[in-house]
Amino acid sequence: MDLLISAFDILLRWDVALALLAGSVGGVLIGAIPGVGPAVAIAILLPATFSLDPIVGLTVLLGIYGSSMYGGAIPAILINTPGTAVNALTTYDGHPMTARGEPRRALSLAYSASFFGGVFSVVCLILFAPVLAKVAPMFGSREIFLAALLGLILVVVAHRGQTLIAGALACLGIFLNTIGMEPVKYTQRYTFGQDFLGGGINLIVVVLGLFALSQAFVLLTDEDEKIRVSRLRGGLFQGLRELARHPRVAGVSASFGVLMGMIPGVGEFTAQFMSYTYAQKTSKRPQDFGRGSSEGLIAAETSNNAVPAAAMVPLLALGIPGEALTAMMLSVFYVHNVVPGPGLFQNDMDFVVALYLALLILNVLVLVFLLFATGALVQVVRIPNRFLGVCILTLSFVGVYSLRNSVTDCLLAAGFGVFGFVLKRLSLPAVPIILGMVLGGIMEVKLRAAMARIKTPFDFIDRPVAFILFSLIIIVLVAHVLRVRKDRLSLKEAEWQTKTASTSFGALMWRRRNSFLKAHGKKVRARHSRLLRRLTGLF
């Protein structure tokens, strides 16, 4: 009880209240503007939060992260443009509802579903994080190495159809992290004799370049669109009542979101995709999906809002980030000397409870704000793209320059910005690079510590948790290989109209030889030559 009271004490300061307000309202605005996303905003504000109190900084960043998905539903539903990348599935059922003349219903349903997902995942965070923290002391160097490896493999394997290049980009991230002076033998690695590389490449510089600057370049090289937004009439509270009529879809989608958020390396896309597919398969009217089904909208919005708080579970309990945005927030923890892990739960439990309460209050604030201010918020969608690009470019400068006041940092960020622009044009993922940098760094340190103690390779998986993680890695790899094999088989069937017969040249020749010698083959050739004579006989 006094834990709760001391947590409230932390929250009842004016700067925390201001942070809650800024995080919720700012997050919704950032999500509502298509072209800006939580990644851009968090990358820009991250260095600014270093000088603030840890709870204030984290509240702003988490608020932006969580509320941006509420705001992203607005343009997704009204103008078929997802406000943030994770709201893409919302357009499938949200926009047809608007086309039918029910925009208010769609919006209120989206808000209620998001609220339910957000609160559900905070409750799960409160329940699971201490459990994982109790298990966390069993995580030694080997286990953390294996968990980070599992996360990296999952993030690569999750990109279906692009697994190879995602793997190459993840290895690029690992490589970028090794540049600079290494801390054990004090040797230089890949600095090419340059001073500015001697300190290594900062994660925030890469993040700002790959997310914020590349987005600015995309917007600057794009064209402005003419957007017409119609006026909204009617009440917004009907969504809560409608949500209560679909408890099963909402519950399962929220659980998928929590599960995918907790597993390091997986994120909103998988959660949404799985809950949408589940909702469609178990619906009484699956033909409605993609044409304005309320269940589809609930599934999409609940699952993507359930991810942020759940992604905090592995971060708080083990210090391993669940996905790219929480990886950025890890640096806020380190800057303030708040080291996540089981120590956090033993020594700073009131900080953790304050964080939980802040997340809950954020969801409530956002819902209240949206229920009253949606009409005005809709106008924000009208900001022209290229002007938005100019604004993001200006804001990114602050983000990079305030880190170390270094012009070479800004040059690196600009270089990564162009690289990120190229990746975006080619539809290639940038997230593996970030996770490669963070998890690769963790893996190198832990591997060195672990290998010092083992004699044979089997010692590595001696302990139960290490063995479980190792078997999970093997299961994921085997499942991926099986899926690749299935895809290749379906490609072969589409190309050759055969699933089972071999398509190699030797096998084709063998079949032709066998058919040539047999009676059936002679009959077929006779038929073909008769047809040919009849055809050529026409002329």
Binding site: A168, C171, T187, N405, F421, G440, L447, M451
Partner: protein, 176 residues
């Protein structure tokens, strides 16, 4: 006529081959530079060598990128790939604007440079109406006030501020 492999490829065709080829070439180049850029320390196990982890990373990069290049459905660079490369160089122009901004700020000062930069870039993007240019000036001033005065972000005073009289200099260094 598109083949089944091309239809199943995730992402647009333009530029894929160029990107994959350049990526493979760069990772091979970095891998070749491994002995001279990293050190081999004596009396240390393989896993603790400073060369080990970069070798793993670069080897992975080269291997996966080569496999990706091998499995691409296209083997010849087309004119659409070249158009795509030209589009990529458009971003380099804006990176240049960004670097000009970065270099001017420590010389002239955050507020003056921002108030000139934002309308200038808006003008370059094609906005000529007085409303948009006024909006860009307002945005520039708002950003400077938010980050410098409210959030107290670390942006040091400019060289130009040294020439101000002392009272104005301290105000400028703190808030502009």
């Amino acid at each position: 006529m598109t083949t089944e492999r091309e239809r199943r490829f995730v992402g647009p065709r333009r530029g894929q081959l160029v990107f994959a080829a350049v990526f493979v070439a760069l990772s091979a180049l970095l891998l070749v530079m491994l002995p001279e850029q990293t050190a081999w320390t004596k009396k240390t196990k393989l896993f603790a060598q400073p060369r080990f982890w970069p070798a793993v990373a670069l080897g992975g990069m080269a291997l996966f990128a080569a496999l990706h290049l091998y499995r691409l459905p296209w083997k010849r660079v087309s004119r659409y790939d070249m158009r795509e490369v030209r589009k990529w160089s458009e971003a380099v122009e804006y990176a240049g604007w960004f670097m000009a901004y970065v270099i001017m700020v420590p010389v002239i000062g955050y507020l003056p440079v921002t108030v000139v930069f934002v309308p200038a870039l808006a003008w370059r993007m094609g906005y000529r109406s007085r409303g948009m240019l006024l909006l860009s000036v307002v945005f520039a001033v708002a950003v400077v006030i938010l980050f410098k005065a409210v959030l107290a972000v670390r942006i040091p005073g400019a060289m130009l501020y040294e020439y101000f009289p002392s009272a104005l200099r301290s105000f400028a260094i703190l808030y502009l």
